[in-house]
Symmetry: C2
Subunit: 454 residues, 2 copies
């Protein structure tokens, strides 16, 4: 049971009456009707990879977990319509593979792809590694099937790019983290499968303007840029320590960007394009040097390094994660201000800063010192320094959660930083979809009953 | 007053107490509070270019029109963040121009762009000419400001690509046609400004598979395709008659596709790319011949022809429009079935079929014969043949409204074709946002009071 009642980061363990594993949408509807009748809270769960406790029951022992893991079918790949229809419990990696087997790309890719499930990706509006080119999960969502809190099944599994026939219910579910109903199926949009990639390791000059570099790369790559990942020297060092056979690449004095172009065409010379773009960046003085992967194994090594950062942090003693985003025009300013806040808070703290800079999204992580209790340290930082960092992001028009969601751990942040009118609208939606408050109770919005009378 | 109370297609004229023209968001909120207090229905209006009567008051004379036309400011262009913040009353063309002046592209382009306004584009989730590359209006929406039915202002004008902090309220407004509140401002995502374009006139072979041709063009253009517009010979002939100096291009025996690639890079040879792609399409036997624009004036001429089709229809005596979309894999089947339905209904009817085939979206228009009353003819077709055509689209997994919306004219179609669960969810949302039913009453959803008790 523990794998279902403990969150991914092992920060919290709840308890549950039972873990139910329906095999069909009808069974999900039956469960919801029964729970509604008995007033039992339902915690929907996919791969249980939430960083915010979005899929973890409370400690009351009066909630049930509905795991979608048995509903993992690929329902249909339509290569001509460029769409794939799946059960919500399908593992992201399996959906990627099914698309690739049909010569197409599911352009959603993230660290947890081997275990996270599509329903969870929709519930958290997952982002990941190629948002700069392809967008977030919501941008890929063509159709949805979901069970509402009274057992009503919404069935809108159309494969249409365009369908302007009233409110777009599927968009309500994207990012709702199971609080409005249980997503049981989805149709996702596919793209032409890239057959060529050019991947480069850009050693940034000190003070190199990230946003301006990004703008140059997007423009001169004809927007064939799929990835623009920023990594500091410290994050790279952590990753290197976690690898058995790390590549011999180093960071520049301003850090590193891993940039990748992708193309499905035989008629575009991607390496030449990358070389031309890098030459412009060098001429602008923004990068000291660059290394263009000459083979698939070199490309893979760069990516393995990027993906080993979380493991590197974990090996050291973990990190307190800050999944912030700011407008691109403020990214440099955030880095400067935040670094100074960390120094003032405790000059001995170490940072691991990296992330999807192409989207203005940084994982601004404070490393847990090797000799301290991780949970205690996390609590201390989150009640102090974290709020300073989030204040800084908010003051720059940014956010405390770029792609990880709100879940149970960040509700207080939503109340602190969310626009009052927007939260009022969120409560209206919650009440409309879940008047009895049985859908993932405790996640995202606090009960509307506590809202002051207007 | 008539310009405000009559719909764009001049099919319906309502009446109104007054046309109010607020200049600020606060004035909009004041109006809404007053109307809520008095129980007066509010019809928000932008450029009044709805094809579905979405912005037209009823005949009761007890509704007010709130025109956003005075709120037309460009609030901010942020070239580094690639975003633009505007008042909802800003005219689309002016927003495009403001972006272009900053070296960026607002990738929303449609026939009415000289008069439609951003609030209306959001309200209808406008599509248009470059959806295949850039998506619909909702895909460009980064931030929103809106007044709810009790005067609450939702203010979420952030310039963030990623902001997963609970329900995405702005997505509720996209496609809601003013029935959930009044959008007063928005932040839109911009893209690198294309500096090169390659535009080609593809003369389709008889029976050429449109979807397979599209897949080839997307793949081998590295997805630099921005436009894939289908036109039948009849539509081209109508357009030609409406032009003073029409280009000398002809349709192929299977019709024509106007395809355009766009690139912001100096390093990608677009003409060579287009030539390579066209050679593959010719080799596949899907196009008889192709003509690649050799100059900006040739390119403009092709576009003027495409854009003159609605005017050509109007000159003849108008058309009954069917804004259908089907999955790409069914587009050919729809064309075959629909043509046979039209022949069976009345062998003398003429069609003008064209549209955004890259999105599976066809404007399947039945021409009004020159000598008959347009309104009478429209009524007759819409109560008979139209339903047959929509039935066919629905049976193929398609929709009766791809991009025009529901408004007042298509409510019965939503009830006929909409999934029951989805309509139930829509009613919940409507009730949550507008419990008194004062926001654009009569558009999209019928009052929930008539919903049978559950």
């Amino acid at each position: 049971m523990a794998t279902y009642t403990t969150d991914q980061r092992q920060l919290f363990t709840g308890s549950t009456i039972a873990v139910l594993k329906p095999a069909t949408t009808e069974q999900v509807a039956d469960i919801v009707r029964l729970a509604a009748h008995r007033g039992i809270g339902i915690v929907p769960q996919g791969g249980n990879t939430s960083y915010c406790g979005g899929a973890t029951p409370d400690t009351s022992g009066r909630q049930i977990i509905v795991s979608l893991e048995r509903m993992d079918r690929i329902r249909e790949v339509d290569p001509v319509s460029m769409s794939i229809s799946v059960d919500a419990g399908a593992i992201l990696k399996n959906v990627q593979n099914a698309a690739a087997n049909a010569g197409l790309l599911l352009p959603l890719s993230l660290g947890a792809e081997g275990s996270c499930r599509i329903g969870g990706n929709i519930g958290t509006n997952a982002g990941g590694l190629s948002v700069v080119r392809y967008g977030m999960t919501r941008d890929l969502l063509l159709g949805i099937e979901a069970v509402l809190s009274d057992g009503t099944v919404v069935s809108d599994m159309r494969k249409l790019r365009k369908n302007n026939t009233g409110y777009d219910i599927k968009q309500c579910f994207a990012g709702s983290e199971g609080t409005l109903g249980i997503v049981t199926g989805a149709v996702l949009r596919l793209a032409p499968l890239p057959t060529r990639r050019a991947s480069a390791w850009l050693k940034l000059a000190s003070g190199a303007p990230l946003a301006e570099l990004l703008a140059l790369v997007r423009r001169e790559s004809a927007d064939l840029l799929t990835t623009f990942e920023f990594m500091t020297a410290r994050s790279i060092a952590l990753a290197t320590e976690a690898m058995t056979n790390p590549p011999s690449v180093r960071a520049g004095s301003g850090g590193t960007v891993l940039a990748e172009f992708a193309s499905s065409s035989r008629h575009v010379g991607l390496d030449e394009l990358m070389e031309a773009v890098l030459a412009e960046a060098i001429e602008a003085g923004w990068i000291e040097d660059a290394f263009l992967a000459q083979s698939e194994s070199q490309r893979t090594a760069m990516w393995q390094l990027r993906e080993a950062i979380p493991e590197g942090e974990k090996r050291r003693n973990g990190s307190v994660k800050h999944d912030i985003s700011v407008p691109l025009s403020s990214i440099q300013r955030f880095l400067d201000l935040a670094a100074s806040q960390v120094r003032s808070y405790d000059a001995d703290l170490e940072l691991s800063v990296y992330g999807h800079a192409g989207d203005g999204n940084l994982h601004y992580n404070v490393l847990v010192p090797p000799d301290v209790d991780r949970t205690e340290f996390t609590k201390r930082i989150e009640s102090g320094l974290s709020l300073q960092l989030y204040d800084t992001a908010a003051a720059l028009g940014g956010t405390f959660s770029a792609e990880h969601g709100v879940g149970r751990f960040k509700k207080h942040l939503l109340e602190r930083y969310g626009d009052v009118g927007r939260i009022a609208a969120m409560r209206r939606i919650k009440k409309a979809f879940d008047p009895a408050g049985i859908m993932n109770p405790g996640a995202i919005v606090r009960p509307w009953r506590k809202e002051p009378a207007s």
